[in-house]
Amino acid sequence: MSAKSTRIICVGNRLVESDNVGPRVYDCLARRDMPGDVSLIDGGLMGLDLLRFVEGVRRVVFVDALHGFAARGRPVVLDHSAALAERPARYGHDDGLAYLLRMLPAVCDSDLPEISLVGAESPIGPDVVEQLADLALSIATRGRYERGTDTAVDAV
């Protein structure tokens, strides 16, 4: 595993509309040419079992459905500290990614990668899927999202 590598991990359930943001963005990105040091992963519903994919890399961009951060359908970016601050009450499968992010500093067996979380609240149209794919790829290649870069995106 390369210490310089970057990963985009799309999370969610493609069979459930309110949770299919990640899989739709994955499908969109899978049709594109990815830069050499960026790998794309369909994280499905793996939750805590994604830990292995987060270790040993420099930067990870998660893509997932987000609720309550912005108006429905509006793209949102959570930076490293905001993403790791998400706190499920306790362990449970329905807290998959939130649990992983919360536990990550304590259990990551490598240097903690730079984490970003990109998403929107469903339902979203194809234009927002493309927008989220652009965002994920941009953060993966350039680093953290700078607030105010795009007025159509909320940064947390």
């Binding site: 939750g47 805590l48 998400e86 306790r90 499968h93 329905d94 919360r102 979380l117």
Partner: protein, 512 residues
Amino acid sequence: MSQKTVLQMPVNRVEGDLDLKVEIADKRVADAWCSGTMFRGFEQILAGRGALDGLVITPRVCGICGTAHLTAASLALDAIAGVEVPDNGIRLRNIALMVEHIQSDVRHGFLMFMPDFANPAYRKHHLYDEAVRRYEPFRGQAAIETVRETKNVLEIVAVLGGQWPHSSYMVPGGVVSVPGQSDLLQCLHLLKQYRRWYETRVLGCEVACWNAIQSASDLDAWLMEKEEHRESEVGFFLRFAQEAGLDAAGRGHGNFISFGSFDLPRQTQVKPARAGDDRLVPAGFARGIIVEAFDAEKISEHVSHSWFRDLGEARHPFDGETRPYASGSEGKKYSWAKAPRYDGIPAETGPLAEAVLAGHPLFTDLVTKSGPNVLIRELARLTRPAVLLDAVEIWLRETLAGDGDFYSPPGEITEGVGAGLTQATRGALGHWVKIEGRKIIHYQIITPTAWHASPRDDGGGRGAMEEALVGTPVKDDQNPVEIGHVVRSFDACLVCTVHSIKKGGTSAKMRI
């Protein structure tokens, strides 16, 4: 005159969607209703698909016991094809399923069950501060160690099966992976690493020392024998749980069922738990500790209280159907889970059932003395890895030493009927399959949680968890931690649910 309170609560830290309604009178649970709140429909998804599609689709039934579903699907197709799986194929199937068990058993213990010991309801318990240090979510030492160690041991499944979870490396006739020597040595290394942690931190002694405990009095003596025993996770669990009265909670019907698991290779050093069996973990049904021979024909599914079309009588899973029907019986039907029964009788399954049916001396003695209860159920789960670890290592070494086949071609599967019965981590799991014209025409699945979170049956009898909840004392109905203990002692697992991140954390509804 007693005051009645009805609590309706979603249950957190079970794997999915469980709603629980309990009626409390005189600070005890007077009655309970378990409701599965999500329709899955895997049986419908499978009907009409190719004969082998269950190998890919059913591991997706669950994100934490996919290997068990793959095993059941493969066993059903083995039976239909009439194929004999070579010894190495049997070994690789068993190893992955065992690893799924040993990681899930400790994850359940230290990430789901024991965090209740850090509940403020126990702040006067003399071990409360220590429980917080060990099990506080995200910070407890045991919680952090568990995530690290289970992550590593699951690599064995990934090495043998290509991925974790949702692997599909088992096929009728064996497995499709042929691990090399370095793969198997890596698996042995990972297993030893896990065993070292499990013996040092969880048991506080070697597996052989734990397995030498034969009775309740032996267990007391073991606890008193050494500081390492008392301070281990099992030792701490026993001390905390006894003082909290968990040996008097969650009794239930006292019936146990196991479908049996881990077929023995023809040539192996692993001995079955019950002499003469062809599987390591025996199949059986028991009333208390009285074990009866297992007859799969006695399994039936009742749907009178489930949101499915009622066929007028309970049906064997080869004859049943899964057709949603959510109206017409308002107030009576209350769950998307069916009510499986054995000879018309409800039963619990899982590690304690396996121990009772195997005649495990310690658990036979404990059940004889105090019946099933929360403490015994969770102790059986925490210590099941001690039963399995030796066999995993032997099968890895036998695979490493031998050069036999991993797969025997089954030929094209065009038609037939077969059942795949095994033990998932949480207990008895069955797939009942009919193939016609190269397609699946019938697929029925009974999961362990269907036994546990079962609603009422046709006779109005409660499911296992419902029965176990009756009589549970509830000191504070705003923080009914005792109910959580009982439910979690069954390691209930419903389904994966929507898991997107919500700002500010989880739902505002009361959860236990």
